[in-house]
Every structure is written in C-alpha cells, then in structure tokens.
Symmetry: C2
Subunit: 407 residues, 2 copies
C-alpha cells in the first residue's frame, strides 16, 4: 500500500507518447495546440474605422465638410481627403488617405446645403467611441491603426493552450485554419463481474445493473477523449484476458472496473502480468478507492478501478483524468479554491487519506456530501468538488478554510 501522493507521482511521471494531427477550426474546441501560432498578417491589416461616421482631417473640424465618397466595409477608398472634405465611412472600412480621424454619425448634422457639420466642436476634442479597444493608448480618433493589435509574424498563441471558444478568433485572424493539435486519446472501458447486467436489462435474483461503465464513458468524454466500451466481462479468467488483450491492442489506455480486490475471482492483476504489463501499484492508502491498480507497458496503460461507482468516479477524477490530459499534451491543473466548511466533519479512522465530495453553497461555504442511507449513490450527484482529509486527521472544524478541488 502506498500513499495517495506517491500513487499520483507514479501516474503523472509516466512517459507518454504524444501524437498530433491537423484539424479544422470547427472541431478544435477542447483540443490542445501542438504548435505555436504566428499571425500571417497585421491586425488590423489597414487603418480601419472603429465606428460609423465621417473620415476627415482633425484640423477641419470647425468647417462644414463636403462628403466626397461613401465607404462600406470591404471597399477600397477611391478618393483622397483634402481640406474641407470627408468620406462617409462604415465600421470596419478602410480609412481614406488624407483623413486622420473619424467623427461619429451621432455627433454630426447635415446642413441645408448637404454638408456635414461636427456638432461637438465646442468641446475642442473628438468624442471617441469606446466600443473598439476601449483603453488602447494608440486607438484614438476612432481609428484602429494597421498592426495595432497584432504585427505580421507575431506569436499569438503558444503550444499547449487548451482551445476554448475565445481562442477561435485568434486562430481565425492569424490565418491558422487547420491548427496542429494533439490527438484524442482512445480509452477502452471494460466492466468485470458475473453479477452485472446492462442498464436496459432487469437484473435476476442475485444480479445488479452495471452502473459503472456508463459513468466512465461519460467521464472519458468529459475529458475530450474517445471512449470505446467493450461490455461486461464475466468473472472467467479466459474471457477477461481475451477482452483485455483486444482493448489493449485497440486503445492507448484501458479502464477495468471491478476484479481488483481480494476475492477468489479477482484475477485481473494476474492477467495484466500475463499480457506483459508491469503493475506499478495495486493498493493506495486512500478512501474511497483503496484497491486501485495501475499498470504500464511501453506507452500503454491500464487502470484497474474499484467496482463501486463512487470509488471509481473518484479515482478516475484524481488519477486517470490527469494521465489522459497528459497523454493529450494538456498541462491539466485542477482549480483549487479555499473555502470555509459549513459544518464540521469527523471520521473514526485516520489511517487513509479520505477524499470527500462537497458542494459549494450559495453562501460561499462548502458542505460535505451526505453519505448516509439512500444518499449514498447520490453523494456525487450534487458535488462541485472534493476535499482531502489527510492521514492522521480525524476532524475538520466548522468554518475552517479548506482547499476544494473543483470537478
């Protein structure tokens, strides 16, 4: 039996084989960049109007201006602005030569002769639109200048970034329409246990439904990896060996649930060895999830997870998920928040580290999930995270600031 910290170190220090592929922007959500991205152009690529208005010379603002052109976004100006002239310009359009500012439509009026008059001249400055780059030092006069946001060749995103919606405009603007990303990890999932039937079946007298596999499939999906479910393996050595061998050959990582405690039919560790895997640990001083087993063989991994769905959920979150992320180039760090306990917590034994599911209340406190009676299987349903109770600690006090690991 090793400590949880040691088990985590072993898992996260494993050497992984990173694989990459180029994919379309529409599919990049949640993927990890495997390249630095440099812009293939200046942004903006030209001096651009930040608003709808009139492009003119600031020195002419006291004059009535003659409108010489109307410029939509996307059009190239045909005329140069001379003294006393202006061009009606739409947001995003190119500033014509000779103009050095844009005045807002709302700050102008049209004279009887059809000329444009700036109505805020008494303020002695240009009313600047805040919609675009509100506090940029360079953006004033309602012009976004060439290269003001990004210079040609500038690095805009670094390798290792986990792509969120807000990264898409950066990739798109930089011309990176097929970014190189890390491949999704494929994860085989096998449930073991002769007592199991699938959820759509009615269990017989001594049977229960397989509640673990669908949860693991969903956990793998939530990590952005690819689950492959191999069904229920009966507690027969040959059957289990065959399905594990197939799953290992077809996936980067295999998760087994059940079959790893001390029963006569728990031959999973034996099979792992027969398939050439080295078992790095088979017991952790942690609760829940003590019999969690981890085995490796040249870049492939197997986790033997407990059959209890609360235990397997927890150990997946704590150990499997960080490994899956590492295999996808993802420098995963769970969010940790310090929050006060809403109620005290105690336990009778303190020989293992306990991971307790907690919910975050509207008061900003944390509430350990109720493990009692019918709530047992529901204890994770409303959890926002876990707290760890270290070995040797039997009590946590109400109000104590505790580190919450968000899930």
């Amino acid at each position: 039996m090793i400590s949880f910290e040691k088990a985590y170190d072993i898992v996260i220090s494993s050497e992984v084989l990173l694989q990459t592929e180029n994919i379309e922007l529409a599919n990049v959500l949640g993927r990890v960049l495997a390249q630095d991205v440099h812009s293939d152009m200046n942004m903006p690529p030209f001096d651009k109007s930040a608003m709808d208005g009139f492009a003119c010379r600031e020195a002419d603002l006291h004059m009535e201006l003659e409108m010489i052109e109307v410029l939509a976004a996307g059009e190239i100006p045909k005329k140069k602005i001379e003294t006393g002239e202006c061009t009606k310009i739409m947001t995003g359009a190119m500033i014509p030569q000779g103009a050095d500012c844009v005045i807002m439509v709302e700050d102008t009026e049209i004279t009887a002769e059809g000329k444009i008059r700036y109505t805020k001249i008494e303020r002695k400055n240009i009313e600047v639109c805040e919609a675009c780059a509100p506090s940029s030092k360079k953006t004033n006069k309602n012009i976004c200048f060439l290269g003001e946001d990004v210079k040609l060749g500038e690095e805009v995103l670094k390798k290792g970034v986990v792509l969120k919606p807000q990264h898409l405009p950066i990739l798109a603007s930089a011309g990176c329409a097929n970014p190189l990303v890390y491949k999704k990890v494929s994860v085989g999932i096998i449930a073991t246990g002769s007592e199991l039937v699938e959820p759509h079946e009615k269990p017989g007298l001594s049977q229960i439904r397989n509640s673990n596999a669908s949860q693991l499939v969903a956990q793998v999906m939530a990590c952005g990896a690819l689950p492959n479910y191999y069904g229920i393996a009966e507690d027969v050595e040959e059957t289990t060996k065959n399905v594990l061998q197939k799953a290992v050959s077809e996936n980067d990582l295999v998760l087994l649930t059940g079959g790893v405690s001390m029963g006569d039919f728990d031959f999973v560790p034996l099979i792992m060895k027969e398939l050439g895997f080295e078992i790095l640990f088979d017991s952790i001083a942690v609760q829940p999830g003590k019999p969690t087993t981890f085995a490796i063989k040249s870049g492939k991994f197997i986790f033997g997870l407990p059959g209890n769905p609360v235990s397997s959920f927890t150990q997946f979150e704590l150990l499997t998920k960080p490994l899956i992320y590492k295999m996808m180039g993802h420098a995963y760090e769970p969010v940790h928040l310090k929050m006060p306990l809403e109620v005290g917590y105690s336990r009778k034994k303190a020989d293992r580290m306990s991971w307790i599911p907690v919910s975050i209340t509207k008061l900003g406190t944390i509430l350990p999930a109720d493990y009692h009676g019918s709530a047992h299987i529901n204890s994770l349903a409303s959890a926002h995270g876990f707290i760890a109770v270290p070995i040797g600690t039997k009590e946590l006090n109400k109000g104590e600031l505790i580190d919450v690991r968000q899930i």
Copy 2:
C-alpha cells in the same frame, strides 16, 4: 437604450417552447432531464457482501468455522449458514440465509484442519470495511442491506437535472436506460459584412478574416446546443434577408454578427421586422456590446450581436447562453465567486455598465485582462470570468472583494 439588467430580464423572461426526446445513456452527458426518475428496484436488490471474506453468524466468531460454500458475485447461495459454519463470499455476492455478518479475508486464518478462524476476536467487534458506504448508520457488519441505498419506486433524480458523469450510475441502477431529456436547441449562425473572408482565405487589401463565426459555433457547442453555420452574408439587403429567412425557418434561434450598428448598410433590424420579428431592444447601456439586438416571433429568437469578437463573445455569454439554456430546460446559474482585486481598475466614463474579463491568479485574487495594444484580441484568451463595473462607478480599488462570474 436600456440597462443591462432590463435587457437580461427581457431575454430570460421570453416564453420558450420546450421539446423532449428519449435518448440512450451513452449520449446523455450535458443533457437536461425532462422527467423525474424513480427506481424500478431496491438498491441493493438483496443483502450484499460489502467485501471479500466469510459470511457467518456474529455469535459464532469465537469458534472455528467450517466453510460450506464459495459464493462469487452473481451466484445464488445454495446453503444456509448454521452454527459453526461459514461461506466464502466475494464482494457484491448475495449473503446466504442464516449469516448476519461478513468478516474480512485479511482478519482470518486457516487452521490445520482447514477451518476458518477470526483473528480479531480479542477486539470484541467486527472490523468493518470502510470501502462501501463508509459512514452509513445501517451498513455495518460488512453487509449492504436490501434497499439500504434506494427503495423500489423512490425518486432518485428530479426533472431539470443537468446530467453529469456522476448521474449515470443513478440512471443505470434505477433502470432508466432511455431517459426523457430536453432536445438540443439548434442555433443558426450568420456572419454579415462584405469585408469578411473565411479564415482559410487570404484577405484582400480592404478585407479581414471572419473571426467571429467560428467563435460563436464553439460557444454554441460549449452550451451543448447544435450550431448550424450559414456562412458570410454580404452587405446586400436581399442576400442578408434570404439567408436570415432560411436560418430562421431551420433553427430555434439565429445569431447574426455585424450589421447592427448605425452604418448605411446595417439593415439587419429592418429585415428582422420584414420577417415578422418584434425587436425587443436594439441598444444596451453596456460595454462592450452596446448595439446588441434581440427579436422574437412566436417561440423563435434572433440575436444581432456586434461584429467585434470580444463584444460578441461577451454578450453571448451574458445574454444568449442563459436563453439557450432556458430553451433546453436548464436552470442555468453562472457560478459567482467573491474574490479580491489584485490591482486597481479605473475608467474614464461611467455611463454604461462595463463587463471586464478577469483571470484568477494562483494567489486567489482576480486580475483584469489587459486590453492594451496587441493584447486586445487576446484579452479573453486567458480569462476565467467577468466582473461587472456598474453605471456610475469609475474606480475599483486594489483588494476590493468583487463578484466574479465564471465562464
């Protein structure tokens, strides 16, 4: 121009048409339950061993016990336990009649005569396994009793629950293999602007790349809804009208970007009216995103979002996302955290509410994103949330506790 709070009220009070469907467990992640779920059986469905060990009578623990049967999980016991007898039993197997406790394998030894002796008898109690239901009052003696977790017919999940991996074991155990969930909302996305080309194209002299649409597609996907992208509509009234009409007929909600400010080619509001939509607002006292427009027509919705990707991202998060969630039966409440400002913040004008992207530092403080220069388009990339600066407030002080809305 209306306040942000008023705009939010209008959006979130809209009447929506909820549609439901039955789907398989493998696809339920992120979907919202449209039914209460009741268990079709007791859980456990029989008195079940919580561990690998020997089922026997507590009164016999001082005796050497004869092993009369070996029970794997899934097997039905053939023999009844009488005084001086025990059955070797695996985790999850059914407790044989006559037994009232299970002793752990680790706490036993085999005598020379092949009998089983409990080695912890001096402690005068049964060493109870903590792996299963650790603090349950009823679970002791290492037996999980029939119906201890859930009773036949008991409600285990409520309508409205957003399904996470940890709900899957509950659905599976309850026999709810095809739960009724709300349908995904289909969201049409149209980019408007003659200056736009798609990210894989090289912009001409007065053009820029369409950086907004891919971001909106990803935001819609991140909500669990179905994006349908209709491409770039040039700033020609007939073109825009045709594509909007098509998108409206094929989707529950349509997002347009651009075309909603005050330029000569911003005829989107006019087209909305021509298609029979009622515009509920077209200007919000908020920054960024002032020209955000919202229109409805008998259960269908259109958002006109600004062309600037920072503005459209923000208003999508603040207004569109809550509506999409409502349309999928999802009682969405963004997570709010109170955290201290790492640095002071100030702005020149306070006539609109500002939403500022912030990152959460490792110190547990919040840092407003840098809006300056080249960081402009990157300001959201590292953001963990937004803070709101109310109308009338020009400054926030370093250390001040601020409400952070997580994204």
